[in-house]
């Protein structure tokens, strides 16, 4: 555990700071290196009809790419180090910082690269390839950054607190607790609004690829509309209505379970699969389909899983009983 601790901060700095800064500086150097092949001012923004409507000098573009990346990396590194003890939070900050920087850098660099050899940047076109390519690059870089930051592991396993709910489980007894939970009405409003806004923007802007994004959002919303929570000899399992997504916390990894009041917007910033950025559950991750009592599972590795479900008290008691039975 001590080795993980000492390596955690440097790894976080590399993932959230050094990695995005390097990508941004590399993009800036490339763009500056092409300045002799580029028009005096390059297109930097396109209107809805696909013709460029804003221009800048190549050196200014290079400075923007490098400057954006360096500032984002500095802010990201500080935030990620501050959050690196809070479960998945440090990992998420690193992934978002590195991914966003990669998206901006790759998009700008590839749009500028396409303008090499043009006499007039007014002829510069824009196609789906740079956008899709930079999204793909962003996802890959975000995954690498996230992989580099291990989930925070500094909350020591504390064992079962005296006041924790607990159900006695006999050695030969067969037990299971299961309950399904559906997205609350506020959550449905938020999800429908999200899909609706994407569809309307797509139609207004005639950006048809946005319809694909709306469809993907709708599919995710349907898959996560309701989940089934099961506590049994295997541990805690949360399963979507159609079997996916499926998250399992094995019983060997459960330190103890408790019940907590969950505020979706205030602490988790919305509904669905979420990581808490604020509040007492900071760093905990799991399914927040509505507000209310949630089952909170502290894992032996310091991570925290949370799921809002009715009768979480019984679920927590049974998990604690099953953990005690194994001892």
């Amino acid at each position: 555990m001590t080795t993980t601790r000492s390596r955690l901060v440097p790894r976080t700095v590399v993932a959230a700071g050094v990695l995005p800064a390097t990508i941004a500086v590399a993009g800036a150097v490339l763009i500056r290196g092409w300045r002799d092949e580029l028009p005096a001012s390059v297109a930097t923004h396109w209107g809805l009809n696909g013709t460029p409507d804003d221009f800048a000098g190549p050196v200014a573009v290079a400075l923007f790419v490098g400057g954006f990346g360096v500032v984002a990396a500095a802010v990201g590194a500080v935030l990620a180090v501050l959050a690196h003890r809070d479960g998945l939070l440090g990992r998420s900050v690193a992934a978002v910082t590195a991914g966003t920087t990669a998206f901006v850098t790759v998009l700008t660099t590839s749009l500028v690269a396409d303008q090499r050899g043009l006499a007039d940047a007014g002829e510069a076109g824009i196609g789906p390839v740079p956008i899709v390519g930079s999204l793909a690059a962003a996802v890959i870089v975000a995954a690498v950054a996230g992989w580099m930051v291990p989930p925070g592991s500094e909350r020591p396993a504390s064992g079962l607190p005296a006041d924790a709910p607990r159900l006695q489980v006999e050695s030969d007894e067969r037990v299971v607790w299961t309950r399904s939970v559906a997205t609350g009405s506020y959550g449905v409003v938020v999800l429908v609004a999200g899909v609706g806004v994407t569809v309307v923007s797509s139609l207004l802007a005639r950006q048809w690829w946005l319809l694909g994004l709306a469809a993907a959002l709708a599919v995710l919303a349907v898959l996560m509309y309701s989940v089934t929570v099961t506590v049994d000899r295997h541990g805690l399992t949360v399963r979507g209505r159609f079997g996916w997504p499926r998250l399992r916390t094995p019983i060997e990894q459960v330190d103890h379970a408790a019940v907590a009041e969950v505020h979706p917007i205030r602490h988790f910033g919305g509904y669905g699969y979420r990581i808490a950025a604020f509040g007492p559950l900071r760093g905990a991750s799991g399914f927040i389909l509505r507000g209310g009592q949630g089952l909170v599972v502290d894992r032996a590795d310091g991570r925290r899983s949370v799921v809002v479900v009715d009768d979480a008290e019984t679920a927590a008691g049974l998990l604690n009983g099953l953990v005690q039975q194994r001892l």
């Binding site: 007894e173 067969r174 299961t178 309950r179 000899r233």
Partner: protein
């Protein structure tokens, strides 16, 4: 819904399972139209044979608490959630008490008949 099965009990496992689910429906923990867990998943959780679970579900169907539909599994009926499960549970409690007191089925039904007047 909490299901606890005691393999040492004289009551068969499938009947214990049906009683636990009936109780959960009676208490409103599962509502009308809601699906029970898949028989295979539940059998795995409880480390019992899948036929034990199916037999428990069949008993609940015979009681009118659930419907068994091909491909959809066991779904709680409106009648079951609307009081039938609670009544079934009350009848099971009454029968158990009558047995403990050594009453015959005739004596018990006579008592119920009198109550109905």
């Amino acid at each position: 819904m909490l299901i606890r099965l005691d393999p040492g009990s004289t009551e068969p496992l499938f009947a214990q399972l049906a009683a636990a689910i009936r109780g959960a429906v009676a208490r409103g923990e599962i509502s009308a139209g809601e699906r029970l867990p898949g028989a295979r998943d539940l059998a795995d959780s409880l480390s019992v044979n899948v036929h034990t679970v199916l037999r428990g579900y069949q008993q609940l169907r015979d009681e009118g608490v659930v419907e068994l539909r091909r491909g959809r599994g066991a779904v709680v009926t409106a009648r079951g959630a609307g009081g039938l499960a609670a009544l079934r549970q009350a009848v099971a409690d009454v029968t158990g008490q009558a047995r403990r007191l050594g009453l015959t089925v005739h004596e018990l039904t006579d008592m119920i008949r009198m109550e109905y007047r």
